[in-house]
């Protein structure tokens, strides 16, 4: 298990992505899945950066746990900002035309669609969001 403590701001996105990719590459994760996980990491981390402590800044912890036997990875994002369950948000209507579509609201939807499992809990003043993905 590897852990990264970092200030939750969008300028740190590359550092977070690099950190996660390092673990995934070491675990032999295929390129396509790596891209899907990058996408999920970006959407979740940028959400925390934009909303958790706004307008202040605060810390986030990113934890990567790979399971070589099951070929899965669990990535957990922890912040102590305002309680926010992104999974409670209604999915956008992806059948609407360009004119009817709102700009935004897609990020967490893409995460839910591309990951095998996404769980959220609020515990001891912390938002804890975990994504799980098979990396075989």
């Amino acid at each position: 298990m590897k852990e990264l403590d970092i200030v939750a701001k969008t300028e740190n996105l590359d550092a977070v992505t690099d950190f996660v990719n390092e673990q995934l590459e070491a675990a032999g994760c295929p390129m396509k899945i790596l891209m899907q996980i990058d996408l999920a990491v970006e959407e979740i981390f940028v959400n925390i950066a934009n909303y958790a402590y706004s307008p202040e800044e605060g810390p986030a912890t990113v934890r990567v746990q790979t399971d070589s036997e099951k070929s899965t990875v669990d990535i957990t994002f922890i912040d102590h900002g305002v309680p926010y369950d992104p999974l409670a948000k209604q999915d956008p209507d992806v059948t609407l035309s360009a004119e009817q579509r709102a700009i935004g609201g897609l990020g967490i939807f893409m995460v839910k669609k591309s990951m095998d499992d996404v769980t959220y809990e609020y515990r001891d003043g912390h938002n804890i969001l975990t994504i799980k993905k098979g990396i075989a």
């Binding site: 969008t10 300028e11 996105l13 590359d14 396509k32 891209m35 990058d38 996408l39 970006e42 959407e43 940028v46 992806v94 059948t95 609407l96 035309s97 360009a98 004119e99 579509r101 700009i103 935004g104 897609l106 990020g107 939807f109 893409m110 669609k113 591309s114």
Partner: protein, 98 residues
């Protein structure tokens, strides 16, 4: 990410290379919007796009809305990985992908 633009009369082609993410999407949006005046045909070449997040999708959507008013927009050379993202998000129905 790098952006190469080529304007011929009222046709603009934009070749994008690299990652369109939270960090780079604003730059892509500016590059496109700065050149859209009078453009009736916009072609986005995605051959060298490796990755697109929702920040990039937002740029595509807002550009599509502009082009709906003044002409047409088309994406070319979209890889299967990027196509999958468009399909999941319903963007494959909104965008014209050749």
């Amino acid at each position: 990410m790098t952006v190469n633009k080529n304007l011929k009369a009222d046709a603009l082609s934009v070749a994008v290379e690299g990652r369109i993410d939270t960090t780079t999407a604003p730059e892509l949006e500016k590059e496109i919007k700065d050149s859209l005046g009078g453009v009736k045909k916009l072609v986005l070449d995605f051959e060298k796009v490796e990755y697109i997040s929702s920040a990039g999708l937002r740029v595509l959507l807002s550009t599509q809305k502009i082009m709906n008013k003044q002409g047409e927009m088309k994406l070319i050379n979209v890889s299967s990985d990027i196509m999958e993202i468009f399909e999941v998000t319903g963007f494959s129905d909104i965008l014209t992908i050749a």
